[in-house]
């Protein structure tokens, strides 16, 4: 009895010590954003003098670990800029976790190559972890980087990437592809059955029915067991809901300009769901869309299913043809020059990317001025022609050769036409920056065709992601509500499509909407609308 008292007392004293003792350890000084580095001298000093001091720059890169066989990147960069890079590879899934830990513990890398708003950027900015710059400052500090967009383009880019203080905390490079997704179909089968790619939902239904009847296989195979809302994004678009809605949740209708705060309870969405259910009941879409794994999808396609797809033309060779040819060596996928729509009189929608990449470069506030300055010199160079060639193709004679005006990957390298071989990562390349335009011109000539086919076409519209800025409390509240809403949306989406519930039945649809309301749908819409109006006054 006495012993127990003693042992408890000792235990508590111990814990109190632990608490007190770590009072110091628990402190985490947050750095105050330092001022932007001083402007670079106007090029009077010779390059050798400018880079006289060797600098080690730590970089965080989002991607898998690299198997570097022969490092051609480091010697080149060292020679040209006298930089030694220390690169930390962080896995896709673990990126936020690890970055948070690094930032919280003061181990933040100087440069973050995958800075993007989806990754807690607001939190990080408010904590003062990163440096921000105004548009003017960037124009002066990295003129080549700045020049990749026209002034007109900057007008729409800057509001999208900047923070509420007018500065931007990440700097994306120009996207290579403005349109990279389209409807694809099996040309060989369509030709054999004399089918034309449809432009209306009735047409889609007809074509798919014919395909099923004549081949006995499932015309459309897709699945997403992680988030079933992504399973049929092409069809979302057919009805006027953006392809990226499962991520963005809100959108602006390009025709009416109306802001829709939540896509998955609208009448438009209901029409989409009814249509998908019809397809499901007739066996025109793959039964296992809500549970299938990638392996299963591949296996199903390899058995001859899947004749229409909403996907990337760039995957035709590497994936679609490869899989379909397991069943029919004559299989040949092409992209359709039209998009189907539920109401072509009103609008047909296609997907266009913003000018800029999803992720950009972030500069740590803790990094020294000279490190930032040096990196900016490197980054700016990456946006010159020479730099773009370097980061896209590598080293001449080793990884690429020049053929006239084109750059071609050497035979042992992987390329857009060949998925086997070495990649630049195997040679140690880690850069960021912008892809050289010649890659698309030479290897993906259809990309320009895609642009010509859909941009500026009468009746064709694309979505522009709405800009929304939240306060801290709003973010927190949104986080609470969003998860519940999305989980429920997924549940009902699967159930409606599979026929467990009837979307055409008013009562059952109302039941769905009211369940969502109980989980906070109205508040969600309220916050989103306020945020949108705040950013788009």
């Amino acid at each position: 009895m006495k012993k127990r008292f003693l042992s408890l007392a000792l235990a508590m004293i111990l814990m109190a010590c632990a608490f007190a003792g770590c009072a110091q350890k628990g402190q985490q000084a947050s750095s105050v954003p330092t001022a932007a580095p001083t402007q670079q001298a106007g090029g009077e000093a010779a390059p050798e003098d400018k880079y006289a001091k060797e600098l080690t720059i730590t970089v965080a890169r989002r991607g898998d670990s690299r198997a570097v066989e022969e490092d051609l990147f480091s010697p080149y960069v060292k020679e040209k800029f006298n930089i030694v890079f220390e690169i930390t590879d962080i896995n896709n899934n673990d990126f936020v976790t690890k970055m948070n830990l690094l930032l919280a513990s003061g181990e933040a890398p100087d440069i973050n190559l995958d800075q993007r708003p989806e990754f807690m950027l607001n939190e990080w900015i408010q904590a003062g972890y990163f440096r921000g710059y105004t548009q003017e400052e960037i124009k002066n500090l990295m003129p080549n980087y700045y020049a990749q967009y026209t002034e007109e383009e900057w007008k729409s880019i800057w509001p999208a990437i900047s923070y509420s203080d007018g500065k931007s905390y990440y700097f994306p490079s120009r996207r290579a592809n403005s349109i990279d997704m389209a409807w694809l179909y099996r040309e060989d089968i369509f030709n054999k059955l004399n089918l034309k790619f449809p432009t209306t939902t009735d047409g889609l239904l007809e074509v798919m029915r014919t395909l099923k009847k004549e081949t006995g296989k499932v015309p459309y195979v897709s699945a997403n067991s992680g988030d079933v809302l992504w399973a049929f994004t092409g069809f979302l678009q057919v009805f006027g809901i953006p392809e990226l809605a499962p991520r963005e949740l809100s959108y602006v209708d390009p025709v009416s300009g109306e802001f829709v705060p939540y896509a998955f309870t609208t009448d438009t969405f209901r029409q989409h769901v009814i249509f998908m259910n019809k397809l499901y009941e007739e066996g025109l879409i793959w039964q296992e869309f809500a549970t299938g794994t990638t392996d299963q999808v591949n296996a199903t396609i390899s058995q001859g299913n899947h004749m229409i797809a909403w996907s990337y033309p760039s995957k035709i060779e590497s994936e679609l043809n490869r899989l379909s040819r397991n069943e029919n060596p004559e299989a040949s996928w092409v992209w359709a020059k039209d998009m189907p729509s539920s109401n072509p009189e009103r609008a047909t929608y296609f997907k266009a990317n913003p000018y800029y990449n999803a992720s950009g470069v972030g500069f740590s506030a803790d990094a020294s001025d000279e490190v930032i300055e040096r990196y900016m010199a490197f980054m700016d160079w990456l946006h010159t022609d020479e730099g773009m060639v370097f980061r896209t193709y590598g080293i001449e004679g080793v990884t690429y050769r020049k053929e006239g005006n084109n750059y071609v990957f050497m035979d042992h390298m992987t390329s857009p036409l060949k998925s086997e071989g070495k990649t630049l990562t195997n040679y140690g390349f880690v850069t960021g920056g912008r892809q050289h335009p010649n890659l698309n011109e030479y290897y993906y000539p259809y990309l320009t065709e895609l642009e010509k086919t859909f941009f500026n076409r009468k009746g064709y519209y694309h979505f522009i992601s709405p800009v929304m800025a939240y306060t801290d409390e709003e973010s927190s509240e949104l986080a609470d509500i969003t998860t519940s809403l999305q989980q429920t949306a997924r549940e009902y989406y699967a159930k409606f499509i599979m026929g467990h519930l009837d979307a055409e039945d008013d009562k059952e649809w109302e039941n769905y909407v009211s369940t969502m309301k109980k989980l906070g749908l109205d508040r969600f819409c309220e916050i989103r609308t306020t945020a949108y109006e705040r950013s788009n006054r």
Partner: protein, 297 residues
């Protein structure tokens, strides 16, 4: 020895053999499937037709792995972390467990309380990370080994074993004048082979399978253990949306390269293989027939 030839014995035999065969079939299937997939052509893998024997036999996957350089290094890393880690684990756990198994230990209840509470209350990721960093262990192997040096479950199991050793042995040695330490070395340890090997195996497997600590504590991916590499491959295969949405040909290329089922399964098999080899060696140390047992009378 009199053999039991009764009906009940034969029924028991039937039960035993049926269950064993069932167990074999059910557990061999996934293993054979993994091995077969790793040796099958990519067309066969895509089509999903591989069951327990290779179709389109090819050693390409293994060749690519051994050439590519990430896997061999990671394998060696894993071996080092496992061996060193398990040694540390056993030393720390057994000493603590033995001490606490002795009923006459002063402050015994205190020690037990200290040991049990963290099983339920833990500060979590961030404080632990900060501690490890402040101790200077970031990016070092010790960050993987020290924070988990004693697993409380394993400690309890070991303590139970030590407690179960018959008191008579100890007492007679004590009467002969041996102190606690001599008793430990001369009497207890020789009789504890089974528990050391069992708990050692548990710890070893824990190290071998772990990836999370490596992910958060390592800066250089060259230090990654095998499970991290494996995880990258398996996740890459599942995050197709991410791969394709990468505008950048170079990034996409890396991911497509990994997304080969055969390669994935070959790496998986390589990660399983050591464990296949290890147990048969350990099993012979689970010796029967020494004066043991926790039965009274």
């Amino acid at each position: 020895m009199v053999e039991d030839r009764s009906l009940s014995s034969r029924v028991l035999d039937v039960i035993v053999h049926t269950s064993m065969i069932f167990m074999l079939v059910v557990t061999l299937y996934p293993v054979l499937n993994v091995l077969a997939s790793s040796l099958s052509s990519s067309a066969a893998n895509d089509a999903g037709i591989v069951t327990i024997y290779p179709i389109g036999l090819t050693f390409d996957n293994y060749r690519m792995i051994l050439e590519a350089g990430k896997v061999p290094k990671a394998f060696v890393n894993s071996v080092i972390y496992t061996v060193v880690g398990t040694t540390v684990n056993l030393l720390m756990t057994s000493s603590f467990a033995y001490a606490l198994s002795r009923k006459h230990l002063a402050l015994r209840k205190f020690y037990m309380t200290v040991a049990i509470i963290p099983m339920y209350f833990s500060g979590g990721l961030i404080p632990t990370f900060l501690l490890v960093k402040n101790l200077g262990l970031y990016n070092s192997m010790w960050a993987l080994i020290l924070p988990g040096a004693i697993s409380i479950t394993n400690f309890i199991i070991m303590r139970t074993f030590f407690q179960g050793l018959p008191a008579e042995l100890e007492e007679s040695a004590a009467l002969d004048g041996a102190n606690d330490f001599q008793i430990l070395v001369k009497i207890i340890l020789p009789l504890s082979k089974a528990v050391f090997f069992t708990i050692g195996l548990y710890y070893a497997v824990g190290h071998w399978n772990s990836w999370f600590s490596a992910m958060i504590y390592f800066k250089d991916s060259s230090k990654y253990p095998l499970q991290m590499i494996l995880r990258e491959m398996i996740i890459a295969a599942n995050s197709m949306k991410d791969a394709a949405s990468s505008d950048d040909f170079n990034t996409a290329a890396d991911i497509v390269n990994l997304n080969v089922k055969g390669l994935k399964y070959a790496t998986l098999f390589i990660s399983m293989f050591p464990m296949l080899m290890v147990y048969p060696f350990i099993q012979k140390h689970f010796i029967k027939g020494v004066m043991m047992g926790s039965l009274k009378g």
